[in-house]
C-alpha cells in the first residue's frame, strides 16, 4: 500500500491536449485574479475604516494559498475543472474578510484553518489512489466515523457553552484548545460509503426494487436496509445531539443518492413525507425543534425574545437593501452568532442584495459544476454517485442555512459552506473541493 502511494506521488500525469489544458489554467488564473482584486478592495476599505493594518496578513496568506494551490494543481491535476478552485478560494477569502469585520480575533484562526484546508485539498488531489482506497475501506471508514460520533455523544461539548448550562448542542470534541466537530467529517465518510454501496447495488436495485406485477408493490430489502441504517443514524444525531441541521443534511444527501442510483421518484416523495413525519414527532418531543418551528412560523410575536435572531437576520437583509451598507458600515453585530450560522445575513447587510446574489451564484455554480462532473463520469457509477453526493452536500447545506436565515424554512444550525467561521467546516468543504477536483480530472 505504501509503495503504491509513493509511486503515485512520483508519477506526473500525462497530458493529452496541452493547448486546451493551458487555456483552462488561464481561465482559473483569471478567476483567481478577479477574486484577489475583490478581496483587496475590501481589505483596503476595512483598513481605511479601522486605521490599522493588523489584518493584512490574512490577505497575504490568502494570496500565497491561491498561488501555491494553483501551481500544485497545475502540476498534479492539469486537466481539472477550472472553476472549482477559484470559487472555493474566492468564497473562503470573502468569508475571512467578513469574519475579520465581524469578529476580528476569529479571522486569525480562520486564516490558519484556510492553510490547513488547502493542504488537505492538495493532499487529496495529489493522491490518485485515494478514491479507490476509500472505496476499499468503506466499512472501516464508516465504523470509524460512527465510533467518533459515539465518542462525541459521550464527551462532546459546545465551545460557547462548555458547562452545558444553556443546553446548546454539544457537537465538538476538545483537543487541548482545539475544537473539532466530528459530524463535519462524517459527512464525507457517509457520502463515500453510500456512493460505493449504491454503485455496487444499483443494477440490482433498478432491476428488482419494485415488483409491480399483479398490482403489488414491494420494496426490496436492499433499499430498506440502507434506509433503516440512515434513518437510525439521523435519529441518533437528532436525539442525542439535538443537531437538527446535520440530521436533515444526512437524510437529504441520502435521499438524493438513493434516487440517483435507483431512479425511483417515489423515493423522493416518500423521503419528503418521512422528513415531515420526523419533523412532526420531533416537534412534539424536543423543545429545541418546537422552538425552531414556532419562531419560523411567526417570529413577529417574539421579535425581542426567542425570535430575536431571525428577526434581526431579516432586518439585516432589509438594511442592506440592493447595494448594501458597505463593509464595516452596517450593524450585523446585532444578530447573535452572526459569524457562524448567520453569515449570509451579515453578507447581505454589508454587500446588499447584489452581494447576497453573488454568494448564491457562487454556491450554485460550485454545486452544479459538481453535478456536471458527475454527468461527465460516464460508466463509472461509484465516481458519479460520489460527485453527486459531494455536490449535494454543499448545495443542501447552503440551501438549508440560506433558507433558514431568510425564513423560508425553519432554522437548522448548519454553517454556510466556505463563508462561515469554523475550522472543521472549512477543512471539510476544501476536502470536498479536492475530491471534486480529483473526480473532474480526466485520468481518474
Amino acid at each position: 500500500m505504501l509503495n503504491t502511494l509513493i509511486s503515485e506521488l512520483r508519477r506526473a500525469p500525462v497530458l493529452d491536449d496541452p493547448g486546451r489544458i493551458l487555456q483552462a489554467h488561464s481561465v482559473e488564473r483569471r478567476f483567481l485574479v478577479i477574486a484577489a482584486l475583490f478581496l483587496l478592495v475590501n481589505t483596503l476599505s476595512l483598513w481605511i475604516l479601522r486605521g490599522d493594518v493588523a489584518d493584512f496578513w490574512h490577505g497575504l496568506a490568502w494570496g500565497a494559498c491561491a498561488v501555491f494551490g494553483h501551481l500544485v494543481l497545475n502540476w498534479r491535476l492539469p486537466d481539472r475543472d477550472p472553476l472549482l478552485f477559484p470559487l472555493a478560494m474566492f468564497m473562503a477569502g470573502w468569508g475571512i474578510i467578513a469574519i475579520s469585520r465581524l469578529q476580528p480575533p476569529f479571522a486569525d484562526r480562520q486564516s490558519i484553518w484556510l492553510i490547513v484546508a488547502l493542504c488537505g485539498m492538495l493532499a487529496i488531489s495529489w493522491t490518485r489512489a485515494l478514491l479507490r482506497l476509500m472505496r476499499a475501506f468503506r466499512y472501516l471508514l464508516l465504523f470509524g466515523g460512527l465510533a467518533v460520533l459515539a465518542v462525541t455523544i459521550q464527551v462532546g461539548i459546545n465551545p460557547s457553552d462548555p458547562e452545558g448550562v444553556f443546553g446548546a448542542p454539544a457537537l465538538w470534541i476538545a483537543l487541548g484548545s482545539l475544537y473539532i466537530q466530528p459530524s463535519e467529517g462524517l459527512k464525507i465518510i457517509l457520502v463515500v460509503f453510500l456512493a460505493s454501496y449504491l454503485a455496487e447495488q444499483y443494477p440490482t436495485l433498478r432491476a428488482e426494487g419494485l415488483h409491480t406485477g399483479r398490482g403489488r408493490i414491494t420494496v426490496s430489502p436492499r433499499i430498506l436496509g440502507p434506509i433503516a441504517l440512515m434513518w437510525g443514524l439521523c435519529v441518533v444525531v437528532l436525539v442525542w445531539q439535538r443537531d437538527l441541521g446535520t440530521a436533515a443534511l444526512f437524510f437529504i444527501v441520502f435521499l438524493v443518492l438513493l434516487y440517483t442510483a435507483t431512479g425511483y421518484t417515489f423515493i423522493v416523495y416518500s423521503g419528503v413525507l418521512m422528513l415531515g413525519a420526523v419533523g412532526v414527532i420531533a416537534y412534539q418531543l424536543f423543545a429545541v425543534v418546537r422552538l425552531r418551528i414556532d419562531i419560523w412560523w411567526n417570529p413577529w410575536l417574539e421579535a425581542e425574545g426567542r425570535a430575536y435572531q431571525i428577526v434581526q437576520s431579516l432586518m439585516a437583509f432589509a438594511a442592506g437593501g440592493v447595494f448594501g451598507q458597505g463593509i464595516g458600515q452596517g450593524a450585523p453585530g446585532f444578530i447573535p452568532v452572526v459569524h457562524s450560522d448567520f453569515m449570509y445575513a451579515a453578507l447581505a447587510e454589508e454587500w446588499g442584495l447584489i452581494g447576497a446574489l453573488a454568494v448564491l451564484v457562487c454556491l450554485a455554480v460550485f454545486s452544479t459544476r459538481g453535478i456536471r462532473i458527475a454527468i461527465g463520469q460516464r460508466g463509472k457509477p461509484y465516481q458519479t454517485l460520489l460527485a453527486v453526493g459531494l455536490s449535494t452536500l454543499i448545495a443542501a447545506q447552503s440551501l438549508l442555512i440560506m433558507g433558514g436565515v431568510l425564513k423560508l424554512i425553519p432554522l437548522t444550525g448548519v454553517t454556510l459552506p466556505f463563508f462561515s467561521y469554523g475550522g472543521s467546516s472549512l477543512v471539510v468543504t476544501f476536502l470536498i473541493t479536492g475530491l471534486l477536483l480529483r473526480l473532474s480530472a480526466r485520468e481518474v
Partner: protein
C-alpha cells in the same frame, strides 16, 4: 447513460431551489426597508440616533448652553454647560429620549426639518454621514437665568421673566431640578422623586392663584368705576373660607383698609366684601378677558396632549366667592401670571411669549430668524393698565412688595398668598420699566412658603438682572 435522467432532474431542482433563495433575498431587500426597518425594535434605529450630530443650543447673547461632542465609538455625548438652565432646557438621552425644550425643538436639533435633495441624500447614504442638526438660539439669557436660579436656591417653585414689548422669555426657572449630564445614572431616582423635577412648573404648573387674582379684580373694579378708597372694617384680619384662614401677604394689626390699601398688602377680606358688589357674570368676563384658562404654548414647548390642560371654569353663584378669592377651581400657570404683569406695562396688551430667536443650519454661519411673534393680546384698557401700574408701584414703595424694590429702577409689583391643600403658596408678579417702551415682567411662585416678602425679593432680583441684560443687548 446511467443516471443521466436523474442527474439532469437533480440539476434543475437545485437551480430552482437556488432561484427560490434568490427571490426570497430580493423580497426582503426590496420590501424590507419599509416593512422592517421602521419597527420600534430595530436596534439600527438606536444606532443611527446615537450618531446624529445634534445641534447646539445658545442663549440670546450667543453663549452656548448645550453642545454635543463626538466620542470614540462614533456616538455623541450631550453636555449641558450651565446647570441652572436645566429646568428650562430639559434633557436629551440616548436611553430616555428628550424632554422639555430639547423635545420641543427636537426636529430642528436633529436636522429632520431641513429639506434634503437627492444628491445630498445619496452622498449621505453612500458615505454613511451622520445626520447633522441645526443649532438653535433661544431668547433665554444665561445671566438672568443664573441670577434667578441662585435667588431661588433651596426653594420649590417657579419664576419666569419676560422682555417687553418683544414677549421674549429671558428666564424660566423651575425647582426642584435635575442634572441632565447625569440623567442616565439618576433616572430612577428622578422619576421616583415626589417633587417631580422633570415638570416645568413655569409652563405646566397649575397653581391656586389666591390673592394674586386681586390684580384682575382691581382691573374689573376700575372698569366698573367702583371706588377704591371706601374703607372696609377689620380688612387686615384673616378671612375664613371653607375652613381656610386667608391671610394678608404681611402680618398687620387689626385695621380698616380701602381696596387700594388691601391690594397693596395682598389682604383678602376687603376683596371678599368687594366681590359682593359684582356678580358671577362680571367675574367670569374678567377671568375670560385675562385669559386665565389659556394655557400658553411657547412654540410648542409643551405637548398639547398634556393631561394638565383643563377645561374652562364655569363660575356660578355656588363657586363664585371661592373663585373670586383665587381658592376655587380656577388655577393659573406662572406664564399666565407674567402675561398679566406684561399687559399692564404694555398699554393693556400682553405680548405673546416666545422662546426661539433663530436657527442655524449645520453648513451655515448665519442665523435664520424665526418669524415675528404672534400679535399682542388685549387684556385691559390703557387707562386701567396705567392705574394698575401706579397701584403696583405703591405696593413696592410702601406695601407688602417692598422687598422687590431696587435703587434707581422703576419697579411695580404685587405679592400675595394662596392656599393649596395644606401648603401655602407665595406669589409675586411685577414689572420694571427700562426707558422708552422697553420693560421686563416677572412672575414668581414659591411652593410651601408663606413668605411673600421672599417672593417679592426674588422678583426684584429677577427684574434687576433682566434690566441689566436688556440694556446690555440694547447697547
Amino acid at each position: 447513460m446511467a443516471f443521466g435522467r436523474e442527474l439532469h432532474r437533480l440539476l434543475i431542482a437545485l437551480l430552482l431551489m437556488f432561484m427560490g433563495i434568490g427571490l426570497a433575498a430580493a423580497y426582503w431587500a426590496v420590501t424590507g426597508p419599509d416593512a422592517l426597518l421602521d419597527r420600534e425594535d430595530n436596534p439600527r434605529r438606536v444606532l443611527a440616533d446615537a450618531a446624529v450630530r445634534r445641534g447646539a443650543i445658545f442663549d440670546r447673547g450667543g453663549e452656548a448652553l448645550v453642545r454635543s461632542f463626538p466620542q470614540q465609538d462614533n456616538t455623541m455625548r450631550r453636555v449641558y454647560l450651565y446647570p441652572e438652565t436645566a429646568s428650562a432646557l430639559g434633557y436629551f438621552s440616548q436611553r430616555y429620549g428628550a424632554g422639555g425644550l430639547e423635545a420641543a425643538f427636537d426636529t430642528a436639533l436633529r436636522g429632520a426639518d431641513r429639506p434634503i435633495n437627492l444628491s445630498e441624500a445619496l452622498t449621505a447614504q453612500l458615505l454613511h454621514r451622520p445626520q447633522v442638526g441645526s443649532d438653535i438660539q433661544l431668547t433665554l439669557d444665561v445671566d438672568v437665568q443664573r441670577t434667578v436660579a441662585q435667588a431661588m436656591a433651596g426653594q420649590r417653585g417657579a419664576a419666569v421673566v419676560m422682555a417687553i414689548p418683544s414677549g421674549q422669555i429671558l428666564s424660566m426657572v423651575s425647582l426642584p431640578t435635575f442634572d441632565p449630564n447625569r440623567l442616565d445614572a439618576d433616572w430612577n431616582t428622578l422619576t421616583a422623586d415626589p417633587g417631580n423635577p422633570f415638570f416645568n412648573r413655569v409652563l405646566q404648573g397649575r397653581y391656586q392663584p389666591g390673592a394674586a387674582l386681586q390684580t384682575p379684580l382691581i382691573a374689573a373694579a376700575l372698569l366698573l368705576d367702583q371706588p377704591l378708597d371706601v374703607e372696609y372694617r377689620s380688612a387686615s384680619q384673616p378671612y375664613a373660607l371653607d375652613g381656610l384662614q386667608l391671610e394678608c401677604a404681611v402680618r398687620l394689626p387689626p385695621l380698616s383698609l380701602s381696596l387700594r390699601e388691601a391690594y397693596s398688602f395682598g389682604c383678602p377680606t376687603a376683596f371678599a366684601a368687594f366681590a359682593q358688589n359684582i356678580d358671577a357674570g362680571v367675574l367670569q368676563a374678567t377671568f375670560d378677558t385675562f385669559q386665565l384658562d389659556l394655557r400658553p404654548l411657547i412654540d410648542g414647548a409643551v405637548s398639547t396632549s398634556d393631561p394638565l390642560s383643563n377645561a374652562p371654569v364655569e363660575i356660578d353663584d355656588a363657586n363664585y366667592l371661592q373663585n373670586a378669592l383665587g381658592q376655587g377651581e380656577q388655577t393659573v400657570t406662572p406664564l399666565s401670571m407674567v402675561m398679566i404683569a406684561a399687559s399692564l406695562i404694555n398699554d393693556g396688551n400682553t405680548p405673546y411669549p416666545t422662546l426661539l430667536l433663530g436657527t442655524r443650519p449645520p453648513d451655515s454661519d448665519s442665523w435664520l430668524a424665526t418669524l415675528p411673534s404672534a400679535p399682542t393680546i388685549p387684556f385691559t384698557t390703557l387707562e386701567t393698565a396705567s392705574r394698575l401700574q401706579d397701584l403696583m408701584r405703591a405696593a413696592v414703595a410702601e406695601g407688602a412688595a417692598q422687598n422687590a424694590g431696587r435703587p434707581n429702577i422703576d419697579i411695580g409689583g404685587h405679592t400675595a398668598l394662596a392656599y393649596s391643600g395644606d401648603t401655602t403658596l407665595a406669589w409675586f408678579i411685577g414689572f420694571a420699566t427700562l426707558g422708552g417702551r422697553d420693560a421686563a415682567a416677572v412672575a414668581v411662585v414659591l411652593e410651601g412658603s408663606g413668605d411673600a416678602g421672599l417672593a417679592a425679593d426674588i422678583g426684584g432680583t429677577a427684574l434687576q438682572a433682566a434690566g441689566r441684560a436688556l440694556r446690555q443687548s440694547g447697547s
